[in-house]
Symmetry: C2
């Protein structure tokens, strides 16, 4: 029942660190040392963030990553969606059989209330708010 998987977590920490570095170009090597996280894995994560336009990357010697968006505009669900797919707490496990009870199912109703709350809260968490 993890809300946040490891790769999202690494990504968040990396983003926080980069955000705190005030525009300096951060190479994976340094970041991995800093966060004590396996470097090749972290590298893959940063490459994804780069492709998703969260980070900007600079190749070549002296290169690395920096933020492409202001930390006030990067929200937790943005990152979670990248690494964990759609943010749904509430799918019927019979969906393949087209569960006819989906609309009326009392369990779904209750959980979807929870889901709305969780998403609202997550949406309020930005990278900026984490380093504030």
């Amino acid at each position: 029942m993890k809300l946040i998987t490891r790769n999202t977590d690494y990504a968040l920490r990396a983003l926080c660190f980069i955000a705190k570095s005030d525009g300096k170009i951060i190479p994976v090597s340094g970041l991995a040392r800093e966060l004590r996280v396996p470097q090749p894995f972290l590298r893959k994560i940063l490459q994804v963030l780069s492709k998703k336009r969260i980070l900007k990357s600079l190749k070549g010697q002296g290169g690395g990553f920096l933020l492409k968006r202001s930390p006030v505009k990067i929200f937790l669900p943005d990152i979670m969606r990248i690494f964990q797919g759609k943010l749904r707490l509430n799918e019927c496990s019979l969906k393949k059989l087209l569960c006819p009870e989906q609309k009326t199912c009392p369990l779904r109703k209750k959980i979807s209330g929870i889901e709305r709350y969780v998403l609202r809260e997550l949406n309020a968490i930005s990278i900026a708010s984490l380093i504030g």
Copy 2:
């Protein structure tokens, strides 16, 4: 990011069905047909519920399962814990390294607020409330 896994879901539906059957002894065979769920898997699930004192079982011909506790006293987290372990949304993925930031980590703080809310809501959901 599933809140409820398949086995929990099956278990809940089984419990609801049994609860609605008003004391009748329900064999797995019938239940599996009714819920359209693989019978051996459902059987394993019911056996666990039985061992955990949620269901009572009767062996032999004409046997099956019935509730051991009133449906007003069976809550969603009871079942979730059985099949999904501890209900924590909020573990640091560095726990093995004894992340020194656990206490002060702003992400943990924010998520633990969400966690408390979710648990409170889940605790309000009983089998009775699902069949009401």
